[in-house]
Symmetry: D2
Subunit: 265 residues, 4 copies
């Protein structure tokens, strides 16, 4: 286990403690397995461009976006979470914007919300702009009538709220098996790692960082018509990313192992 050695105090993150076991975050790698409800859409290309740092360009499909609802189960190596399922699970809603770096297709995440503190803080370590919210999505069922049957056509919904305000609602009428995964879920994310200045006069640099992932797996992907509403609950910057057109929706299982970050180059 990689640990920061801080004098006598240890830990991958705060809180540091004598043996390092008090740290909120375990060091990577972290294994994730999740269920995803995703909607492809397009935003105003000019609005999307304003969310890109100058190193990145919109590329060939300006305004390309996706709204992603996911329920994640995760564990560290060694696994210290699985015996406590309330620790090793969270729900997430995020927005992706298609972009390019020197001709390489990437995705930029301008906003993300999670409902647990560990992924919130772990996101900030990576430069992923996670905030706290309430995120819910339809679960497939094995028996009965209260939802879409597992591994079959059916309708899925996702909702997100923060601070007692609804910010998004999506629905996907998953009707056919897709032949390949949705493109914006197959490209690397590129984040701006930001350290807010705290010491007088401090100006910490902002680094563009992509994530190294291994073990990517998709289950079968069910796709179909979709709807997506983004509500006027936050600021004008968020509102500028409202859907102009809504395309297909997708429902699938997804796994990856998040290993480390690397400076964009």
């Amino acid at each position: 286990m990689t640990k920061s050695v801080v004098n006598s105090l240890r830990g991958y993150s705060l809180p540091l403690s004598p043996s390092g076991t008090s740290a909120t975050l375990t060091p990577p790698p972290w294994h994730f397995s999740g269920e995803v409800v995703m909607v492809d859409y397009h935003v105003d290309p000019a609005a999307a461009a304003r969310f890109l740092p100058p190193e990145l360009t919109p590329g060939t499909d300006a305004g390309q976006a996706a709204a992603v609802f996911a329920h994640w189960q995760w564990c560290s190596e060694p696994d210290t979470e699985s015996a406590d399922p309330g620790v090793g699970q969270f729900s997430e809603f995020l927005i992706l914007l298609g972009c390019e770096y020197r001709g390489r297709r990437l995705a930029r995440c301008p906003y993300a919300w999670v409902d647990q503190p560990v992924p919130l803080l772990r996101g900030w370590v990576q430069g992923m702009p996670k905030q706290f919210g309430e995120v819910h999505q339809t679960r497939p069922i094995r028996v009965g009538k209260a939802g879409p049957l597992f591994a079959a056509a059916g309708t899925y919904h996702g909702t997100a709220a923060t601070g007692g305000r609804r910010i998004a609602h999506a629905s996907v009428n998953a009707s056919t098996l897709a032949t390949e995964p949705p493109p914006l879920h197959t490209v690397p994310l590129v984040h701006s790692r930001v350290q807010p200045p705290w010491l007088a006069g401090e100006q910490p640099p902002v680094e563009l960082v992509t994530s190294t992932v291994t073990g990517v797996e998709f289950s079968e992907v069910w796709s179909g018509d979709a709807t997506l509403e983004m509500f006027d609950a936050l600021d004008a910057d968020f509102a500028s990313l409202r859907p102009v057109t809504v395309e297909r929706g997708h429902v699938f299982g997804y796994a990856e192992t998040l290993v480390s970050g690397q400076a964009l180059s």
Copy 2:
């Protein structure tokens, strides 16, 4: 839709309103589909007997008990919940005690905890003693490494807490396909419908009520060794139901439609 007509005000439950649409609870039937992690165990037979009203007897397997963790998705008829998944889902932890009424095998629920207000209040309508808690359980996964694979052998955990205190932890090493469902999950529940007295001198009767359910379905059931800890976090009555022996655990999908109650007879 069956509605109580209350003068001009309408609604199956509070809040009553002019059109009845403000009621917290929809009228039955309610369709449930859930994922269950369950542990069979035995408690001190004398302790179990103290939790039975005099109409009921322990019967042939005194001290028989089960701890049940479930994640439920549910909807009404017509379905007004599925488009808002945060409304139509909840987690539950409950304890069951085997008992008999005139030779008929039943289950008594002395304690239950849920994490949403609608099932809490709906439980009280039925006489089911639901309280508020935090309940978590392992989810099977489709791809990756962060949990047991769906429809296969694997280890599942469940935890329950209330008021910032852990009350139970269970684990099930689901290793083999069972040939039939766990007995305590196949018999009717019998509840004491209680209306707390509020008017001066009021002594509302307590009724023993069983539930009429239709559409019962089990998925395949995976069973195996199990552990169960009940923590000393509540009162002595709760503590008296600690496991004396722990038997098998089970993991399965389950569905039912809850239609109405009927007086025990």
Copy 3:
């Protein structure tokens, strides 16, 4: 302590248990001390009338309403809550409508939200239509700059949300000491005690019930201009009670002991 004796099982409410100590609710009386932020307003008189059962009339001030935000601390007799402050505190938002019964001035509560399960369930025992929500209000401060100073002029806010949707926002510019408490906070509440039907064919009566309170105390009351917004987040019945005119706001401490209910007569 008044307890329902239920065969061998005891408790003022569910869950019944051998010694009665597991019950979610303690029996009355319950002592309450709270901080209140309140706005007087008027709704469409026809809308208000539709929320009254036929025994009640709008009376002399048709459409009179109030929005009440309160933070409560409470305890039972004997006090089993004070040592666990998370149990003995909750926040509440409720709406009051002025009404009359045979010339006697009363208040009707069409909607209420609380953020803890005990007051939710205790409300239903009384016929008070409490639901689950997130309620926040400004606290007065003793030192510093982060709020209005205690027992002085200052601006207070209240917000309420439910299910991830904002339902109300109020502000009170408390500028002058009032000579008497706000009228709608001085009259008895009259509730419809409703037991949702569960047994086949059951039609439980609905009773109009007022509350017997003792020990009513007001602190000094600061009053001034106010704003009140009700958002279009719920059903049309709720929306019909939007403010038509907004009058004065009030900030005060309030205490009462809730003793029992009595049938309206």
Copy 4:
């Protein structure tokens, strides 16, 4: 307002956005006004020493510690929080250890818990090891019976839990007016600013940082006998800081403005 300029993207913290208004954190200064329930105690001096980085020494009162429960109201400059009280309030439980740097008395915070995401993340910017928890404390009342009267003798309690486990309970029998504030609440905090390594091979430095505060104010301080329990709910490092002796408790209002950090020197 000090803003990080990140190419075209702006914001004091993540999320960066075109106008900077989406950032979770506002830049300092932040004004705080709070109500504090605090217990002085001593831990095993050797255990306390293990929580200090080598630059710091235990100093003259080895093992000196305090448990601090606080409810905070806060706002930025300009004030963007007061109109939304759910944003500008949080509860906190923290532990302090007395220490020295070159003969100067300081306090070290090995553990802290808050119940809102903004103070959680803002703590990490400063090196303060905040985690997520549920924290509750008695509120003084103005009228009635449900608590201690404001600005008078009375009993106060505080509780803290995290992940569904109770970690601490304190009580203070505030009986007399103290002549000066509790010493550990009057000295600067010294934090280790930690940036968890994420890029391959990265070893970010750990900096010892104190906070620059202005506008410190104490209300009158009520003191008296106290109790403090720390529960065995977390790791052995946390358990090593259990009370060996418990001294006086204190209840008071406190305010400060947090301006910036400065490297310890």
